[in-house]
Symmetry: C2
């Protein structure tokens, strides 16, 4: 690799090894910091979360738990059972508690839905968040619906409905906005899709990034949760990690028909939330907290969209339309995604997601998360320099 010192080359090799080991998920910064202590990670732009929401949450927690000494109780005692927390969430989600299944992060809920409700066939869009296909058992057929690069990885409602009618799966999965493309399906289309696909047993709508989506400049939240009230087959899955910036707490919820919730709780999921996750959900049900959160949500959306527009102007990078808090970006100047990722990390301390392992992406793609304004400026400038180094190295090679 051109213009890397010996030590930097060694770090790049170490990174390659960690990436190979991590399978379909990028190695965590914790793992990288431990295995490659010489690397100085300044900004984790691999990581999809609103940093202002983390600020807000840690401030609340400091006041509520640390200053008061109540943190000890949260650590020491058993948290409440699943339905007790469901009862707390019912008013703010607008569904009865019997339809709420809280989870140890959204991945636990994805696992539960795929393992216990999917028996025959699942349709999964590509590219996607890999657990959706990784969690599928050996007796279930997986059909992939490929989003097309030439269509900017957009969702095509009519083609999708045709596919579902042809394949007759028992489960379909829509991530909205989609990970890792950022593509957004308007709520109106989701409603039409649900109306026309009443024969599918499980319509999974993963709204883990919905707090970053918008349909107009007043930015109201466009969740499809209400559809679970009207349609027995709708399953909403929601991670709280991204919008509330608390991936370490592991908190998520599912909204689905009450028989499904009862089925899951009948022989499992007894104390699957931690004390801190319960504390978070009690905050989430608090209107005053939500008002404060709403400010950081809208501010972050605006900053994020401005950042994406700036990234789109960099030569050598093609940025796809996103209403999530990350963009999928294609490197178009001949550099590989791994080289881009490792240079960003080694030279600038910025960790972005190499999408090499993502099924359904053919080319050199990285996913870049939006962080604070200040960090976004560093990410932008680092990306500019890394892309430029490739131009220079090619010029050197030619001359």
């Amino acid at each position: 690799m051109h213009s890397l010192s010996m030590q930097e080359k060694k770090l790049a090799e170490g990174l390659q090894e960690l990436s190979d080991q991590a399978g379909s998920h990028s190695p965590s910064i914790h793992t990288i910091a431990e295995k490659l202590p010489d690397l100085n990670i300044e900004i984790d732009a691999c990581f999809l979360s609103n940093p202002h929401a983390t600020d807000l949450f840690t401030r609340e927690m400091r006041n509520d738990l640390i200053k008061t000494g109540d943190l000890r109780k949260v650590l020491e005692f058993y948290p409440s059972q699943n339905q007790v927390i469901g009862e707390i969430l019912a008013p703010c989600l607008g569904v009865p508690k019997e339809m709420i299944f809280v989870g140890n992060g959204a991945t636990e809920i994805i696992q539960a839905v795929i393992h216990y409700f999917t028996f025959r066939k699942v349709i999964i869009n590509l590219p996607t968040f890999s657990p959706y296909y990784e969690f599928v058992g050996p007796d279930v057929e997986t059909v992939y619906n490929h989003f097309l690069q030439e269509e900017d990885f957009a969702f095509n409602l009519e083609e999708y409905i045709d596919l579902v009618k042809r394949e007759r799966p028992d489960t379909i999965v829509l991530i909205n906005p989609n990970n890792p493309t950022g593509g957004y399906i308007p709520l109106h289309d989701i409603e039409e899709l649900v109306r026309r696909l009443d024969f599918v047993e499980n319509i999974v709508i993963d709204e883990s990034f919905i707090h970053f989506a918008f349909e107009d400049e007043s930015y109201p939240l466009k969740t499809a949760t209400h559809l679970a009230n009207a349609y027995d087959n709708v399953i909403i899955i929601k991670s709280m990690s991204k919008d509330f910036g608390i991936a370490g707490i592991r908190a998520g919820y599912g909204v689905m028909h009450e028989d499904k919730v009862a089925g899951l709780l009948e022989n499992g999921y007894l104390w699957n939330l931690s004390g801190l996750a319960e504390y978070f959900f009690r905050l989430y049900a608090d209107e005053e907290f939500l008002r404060r959160y709403e400010e950081v949500r809208v501010r972050y959306i605006k900053d994020t969209q401005r950042f994406f527009a700036q990234l789109a102007e960099l030569p050598g990078l093609k940025v796809y339309p996103s209403k999530a808090n990350f963009v999928l970006a294609e490197i178009t100047n001949g550099m590989t995604a791994f080289d881009f990722m490792s240079r960003m990390l080694i030279k600038h301390g910025v960790y972005v997601r190499d999408c090499n392992d993502k099924m359904g992406l053919d080319g050199e793609f990285v996913r870049i998360a939006s962080r604070t304004d200040e960090e976004n400026r560093v990410i932008l400038e680092s990306a500019r320099q890394v892309l430029q180094s490739q131009e220079e190295s090619e010029l050197t090679a030619v001359s």
Copy 2:
């Protein structure tokens, strides 16, 4: 109920309602505090954990995470994946990382083992920790082995082996020490049992209370973890909630054959530990921390055994032999277990476990946890007064 004021009677009714709702688990103090705000819970003797270990952990956490500001990272970022944490634990557990499955509390591991490895028939001792039978699916037969009251609920090795040979289950479950009886099976007997039951696919040994057990006055830890190395069918399940006093964090591990671990991780359990649970396990792997922990473990065992001896002297209470951090106690003076529990709570602010819902207990049983020395004195004195009030009420009724 005699000698309760109107308001106290109302609280007792409220408690009855909460107990009915909670099913086979007692309502958490959080739930009680919320639903019955007039109740003043001073001591949770329903709750099975070493309070000195909680002190130790919160001290470590204050130094490592709160004072340094590192807490934010633990909340914000994704924790490491399952096998990364397994690798950290491997040296201190004395097994390769491939045999370690970390869980969101032991209940997640119990659920995983019962749902994914038990297909035909399971033998469960009674009385027991209820998830072991509650998590069993509809196609699996459950055979109960009743511990007998007249034998002090002791485990009988030869009879048990005969039963297993007769029933030919694919799974057997031993909790050692047992919950809620506190009965302990010596390691030597566990070893013999495993040697003679090589035809059982899954020998589950739940050691969630093993840190409180002892075979001599030097109190070395008597875990059977090493057996999982030698026998492919041994599955060790370990909650960290009790011995380390951190139920709110949800941390546990399983040690089992590497094919079983690989099977579980192949399509699930991706990020099932929280950042705090990962922090705890990193502490747990630290020899210096373990040395400090060992002091509070042994001190707590000694205090606990002294407390049990004092409880055993109370008239009206029969205490069964226990090497856990709780005793099963039978109320022998005509008072019901619910009355004892609610009087302890309403009159003295002490919450003990009414065992009315426990399968395999015929009579009026409560389970009383050992807390700090000071709290144990309050529990003891409260129990003395509550039991005495029954004597007095009977005298009044007679006169």
